[in-house]
Symmetry: C2
Subunit: 189 residues, 2 copies
DNA sequence: ATGCTTATCTACATCAATGTCAATAAGGTG
DNA sequence: CACCTTATTGACATTGATGTAGATAAGCAT
């Protein structure tokens, strides 16, 4: 064939995983097959197998990448410099955007298999814990755990079913906007 | 073939959908194919097509059934006779059990298509709203909406990612048990 | 019994996705 | 330029899942 582009392996992998992530958002899990992703990326499906070994290999790689992206976004959202009032809002925002909800839902239906980078995830999570403690200035460890669990579960649930719930509750956009702040006030009391 | 059992259409559909639900819990979304479900149910895959029209038809029926089951469990969990202190606990329990988390996650990845029974879902949800208002005795509509949204999102998130979060937070079983009560106390204040 | 409805099955046809393999060529290196 | 590595591709084989069609038989009604 005349004119075929040769990328570095890293470039190709990035292109493929970004395409796959987009397809996950648009078409759900059925969109995560090598033929479809290959078409959208403008590559042959054999190329994807070359880079990831198999279709499942590609999905595993995507899951890993999205997990790291999610934690990374959380770390930024909970930077130690933010004020307590912003905390819940930032976490909600971080989890509602960028298809993080889709990742969590995906991992929930398929089961939480351990990744190779699970150690790094744990490290980042512990870093998050310390940051939160500083921002909120909680004294007991139990309080910290509870608060994190509440904000995290609420944010996850919001990212996954938030729009449906808001619709069913008939909430105004304004009320929705004020929700994270209200949560922060609640947990602070 | 000698000796083949003939069920009523309703019996067969129930058997098939229960088998499918079990496979969703055990194998994730990949378990939701007519051949696999048929094998587990002890039927031929042609029989499933006979009853549901297609593979997707079976999945739609399962989604509908699980959605109704979920709402039904919620209605029971929030019976008007419960005390405010039990509210969050009951909701959490209802959403953590019986694979409801899998349903929500499934619908989140695949996108929330409208069901034919969406009207019934809305009715049950409104019924839930009224019950909650009685139990909690909230005055403003905004407060009611916020409280429901928080408890619901937290419960959904807990059902989907609760075990992972609890693990990462290193929470004791005792602390986890007390969590719903703590949430109730928080929103009541 | 007889007959009707239809749940159930076997066998076949089809299709889409996965994976293999050998050939090609793009880019870097000597 | 010659050479080497390997990203990329097209063609093929294989597999599994879906759907179709006709035959079979289980239960119910008459």
């Amino acid at each position: 064939m005349a004119g075929r582009r040769r990328r570095t392996a890293a470039e190709s992998k990035t292109l493929i995983l970004e395409t796959a992530a987009r397809r996950l958002r648009q078409h759900g899990l059925e969109g995560l097959n090598i033929t479809g992703v290959a078409d959208d990326a403008g590559l042959s499906h054999a190329t994807l197998i070359h880079h990831f070994g198999s279709s499942e290999g590609m999905r595993d790689a995507l899951s890993e990448k999205m997990t790291l992206d999610l934690i990374q976004d959380l770390v930024v959202a909970m930077d130690a410099k933010i004020s307590p009032a912003e905390l819940a809002g930032n976490v909600f925002e971080a989890l509602s955007e960028g298809g993080h909800g889709k990742l969590l839902a995906w991992r929930a239906v398929e089961g939480y298999r351990e990744h190779q980078d699970m150690g790094m995830v744990r490290d980042l999570f512990n870093q998050l814990l310390q940051t939160t403690q500083k921002v909120l200035d909680v004294e007991t460890r139990e309080d910290l755990q509870r608060i994190i669990l509440l904000v995290a579960t609420a944010a996850v649930g919001y990212g996954i079913a938030g729009d449906v719930l808001v619709d069913m509750l008939g909430m105004s956009k304004e009320a929705v906007d004020k929700f994270p702040g209200w949560v922060t006030a609640k947990i602070g009391s």
